[in-house]
């Protein structure tokens, strides 16, 4: 049963040092505000899981929250590299970062396996790629045809965090537009937090919308603008200019740290 909480309470109750946490969002509905609250609460030694770690993961890594990253593409979409991620991997700043690297197809199958309560997912993947030797993938044989396939262990995060457009007062969540792996990460995780743009009395049916029922979610927090500078379809657009600016803000350790102090650490949480 979902409890309606403040963002501060939600993170405090659900996330603990050392947890495996997936803040998902495939280019849409990225839970930036929840990531910022994790930074403000000073959580440490997290294993962060995400298909496309972008700015908020760069911030979590640069602020020393992460021990390990499980991912498939870590960049600033349409702009370039993530400089805090690079600094952590290349120079161990502010702390060394262990990588478990997959392909997108492998990550997607691993989440779907987690949601399905299966120990692993299967795909025709990682063929002719050096990634296979660097990650947690095994070759298996199809018991029916003998075809060789790839098995990827299921993702079962301790905490799954996503952002959505709206919820009702019971905590049923509705989201639409690009739905990414939002449903899979909630269902695959032991605990889940959903931040939403608004809480309404009744969720009106919406074409193409996905509903995640309240009894699969632990906590819902109302955080208007909680995906910015990412976007919430129907509420606000992606702040493309900020993604371009991040390139400069994140290049230098001191500029990054000063920006984080001013815009995240000293921000009053919702």
């Amino acid at each position: 049963m979902a409890e309606i909480v403040s963002l501060t309470e939600g993170i405090r109750e659900l996330v603990t040092d050392g947890d495996t946490v997936a803040l998902e969002g495939f280019t849409h509905l990225i839970p930036h505000a929840a990531g910022h609250e994790i930074i403000r609460q000073g959580l440490r030694d997290l294993t962060l899981v995400r298909m496309t770690p972008d700015l908020v993961y760069d911030q979590l890594i640069g602020m020393g929250c992460a021990r390990k990253l499980v991912f498939s593409w870590g960049g600033n979409p349409g702009v370039g590299s993530l400089h805090r991620l690079r600094d952590a991997v290349e120079h161990g700043w502010p702390a060394p970062l262990e990588l478990e690297e997959h392909s997108h197809a492998g990550m997607a199958v691993a989440y779907a396996a987690g949601a399905s309560n299966l120990p692993f997912g299967v795909l025709r993947g990682y063929l002719g790629s050096d990634l296979a030797a660097r990650t947690r993938v095994r070759r298996i044989e199809c018991p029916f045809t003998g075809e060789e396939l790839a098995a990827v262990p299921a993702h079962r995060p301790d905490v799954g965090i996503v952002h959505a457009q709206r919820a009702d007062r019971q905590g049923n969540v509705q989201l639409w537009g690009i739905t990414g792996v939002q449903k899979e990460v909630v269902l695959a995780s032991a605990r889940s937090l959903v931040t939403v743009e608004e809480i309404v009395d009744e969720l009106e049916p919406k074409a193409g919308a996905m509903t995640i029922p309240h009894w699969t979610i632990d906590a819902v927090a109302c955080v208007p603008g909680g995906a910015r500078p990412s976007y919430a379809h129907g509420y606000y657009d992606r702040d493309n200019a900020f993604y371009v600016e991040w390139e400069q803000i994140s290049r230098d350790r001191d500029t990054f740290t000063a920006w984080m102090r001013e815009h995240v650490l000293e921000e009053v949480p919702v």
Binding site: W73, A112, G128
Partner: protein, 233 residues
């Protein structure tokens, strides 16, 4: 009309797409090329972005593969697990565009690291969809600027297989596989075979019948320039 090297690359890639093509598009030059094809000779070309949008018809070029306009204009929006399982692995996609930091003579690509994997000189964003795109679509088109640092004898890391690479367009010319090895088949106007050799880090095979690429037409350039990237103006 004068034009840039990037414009030449986008125009030449676009010319390879038809109204029957179903293509998997990445951001940057591939997105430019596919949208140009849709605006010119291939209005029926189906653009699929890995964020889950099938048949996207953006008016402006998106900055990311998940921009809202892609979902608003798409024929269908599907989840990411469905995109990779049913549509890509299911064998429904004809052409996949890939870029990379390095390519070898067999079309294998590196978008993972420069240097050693465990202690890299440069940690790149990573493969994303590339490993399975490279082995699931029927034809891979590579778009990559020519330099000895990019066209290398030995990849630092093999992110994706080159077995389905059919066409490599660079800022200098076009390479296609002949007898299992990428071979120079065309040079762009203003470039010579020697220029391409000098920008390639292996001993480049050159076709006997190397032709010159047709320069972008005024109509192609006008359509291309009408597709301006949001947020970068």
């Amino acid at each position: 009309m004068t034009y840039t090297a990037d414009e030449m690359m986008a125009v030449e890639a676009a010319r390879r797409l038809t109204s029957d093509t179903v293509c998997f598009v990445g951001i940057g030059l591939p997105s430019l090329a596919a949208n140009l094809a849709r605006r010119t000779h291939a209005p029926g070309c189906t653009l699929i972005y890995e964020s889950g949008t099938i048949g996207a018809k953006p008016q402006q070029l998106p900055l990311s593969i998940g921009d809202g306009e892609l979902a608003e204009t798409a024929d269908a929006v599907v989840s990411v697990p469905e995109m990779f399982a049913y549509w890509l692995q299911g064998g429904r996609i004809g052409v996949g565009f890939l870029g990379a930091a390095q390519i070898d003579r067999h079309g294998n690509l590196n978008s993972t690291v420069i240097g050693d994997y465990a202690t890299p000189k440069v940690r790149l964003p990573g493969g994303g969809g590339a490993p399975e795109i490279a082995t699931s679509v029927r034809e891979v088109f590579v778009m990559l600027r020519h330099s000895p640092r990019a066209f290398v004898e030995q990849l630092d890391f093999r992110t994706s297989s080159g077995e389905r690479v059919r066409f490599v367009v660079t800022d200098l010319g076009i390479l296609e596989p002949r007898d299992g090895e990428l071979t120079l088949t065309r040079v762009h106007p203003g470039s010579t075979v020697d220029d391409v050799r000098a920008a390639t880090g292996w001993e480049l095979k050159v076709a006997d019948d190397v032709e010159e690429t047709a320069a972008p037409t005024d109509a192609e350039l006008a359509a291309l320039r009408a597709l301006k990237t949001k947020g970068r103006e």
